[in-house]
Amino acid sequence: MTARETPMNDQRLNVVDLDARLSAQSPQQILAHALAHHDNIAISFSGAEDVVLVDMAFRIRQDIQVFSLDTGRLHPETYQFIERVRDHYGIPIETLFPDAAQVQTLVREKGLFSFYRDDHKECCGIRKIGPLRTKLLTLDAWITGQRRDQSPGTRAAIPVIQEDRAFARKGAGLTKYNPLANWTSAQVWHYIRANQVPYNPLHDRGFISIGCEPCTRPVGPGQHEREGRWWWEEATMKECGLHAVNVSDSK
């Protein structure tokens, strides 16, 4: 019996042990593990340098499922790039759209640029998290391009594999893989150049992290890529994680 005949979603994963083991492996090995253990799995492709995941996965399995969140506010270059990736690999890229009624309500109540006055979360919630949730409710596992070096605040501790409780179907499991978690931006770009992977032309114009057009800007030398996103907001961090400390240290 092969691993794919015993789907993981029916089992209780010991993700901590698995994370420790997979963390020592390359992104390609992590992807191979993920694709071998789940049939109903998809890559979340943002239209930026996470294209390396599409390239790596395509070399393993050509029937990979890829989806992209079209917020309606992406750069024209990003739309063109997503189309280029679709043509380059000859794969369908499922485009997910936000709920029209929710977008209309938001725009009617707060205008088209409410995120500059409030914060980006309401808009991101409607335009990205809503459609993402709808898609993830249909999957057993998903793959992201998240890396620890993308944000020292919010991504410093992301594991290679985790149980995704926020988006799992009721009573079912959803496994999230972050094969690039331990890679640096430099390693990603080395891979792109070495393998002649197509990339978003905005990167050549100083954009490192690419999201929606109003919320993304190029950054200068020495600036962290995080500074190119939501730069008008203060770095406020919600602290909801559980952090065990040595009791003796806290006395």
Binding site: R12, S44, E239, H243, A244, V247
Partner: protein, 111 residues
């Protein structure tokens, strides 16, 4: 059905702000009556009941809710409004739920 809520105390001894906000909302909405047990996850004490339960279930955030029914695996909710919608069967604002997901999972903002 048994419902357990786990809230936490931070490593510096202060209560978790989000846990307090959720508990306040639940009290106002009369939802606390539906909670059978409240456990504390004290970050200074690995053996505190909430920390033990979090470890057992592989949960890395608080507050969270555990719903147990005989003969079924426990359901774990880390999104309060989803718990309210699916378990307490009460209407919620979807925009609020989406925002709560993003608040609790700030790494998602780059997706």
């Amino acid at each position: 059905m048994k419902i357990t809520m786990v809230k936490k105390i931070l490593a510096d001894g202060s209560p978790c702000q989000k846990c307090g906000e959720v508990e306040h909302k639940m009290r106002q909405a009369g939802q606390l009556d539906r909670i059978d047990e409240i456990l504390i996850a004290d970050e200074r004490d690995l053996a505190s009941p909430g920390m033990l339960l979090a470890g057992e279930l592989g949960v890395d955030r608080a507050p969270f809710f555990v719903v147990e029914e005989p003969g079924k695996p426990p359901l774990v909710y880390t999104v309060y409004l989803r718990f309210v919608k699916e378990i307490l069967d009460q209407k919620t604002d979807d925009r609020d739920e989406l925002r709560e997901i993003l608040d609790g999972n700030p790494d998602l903002d780059f997706i």
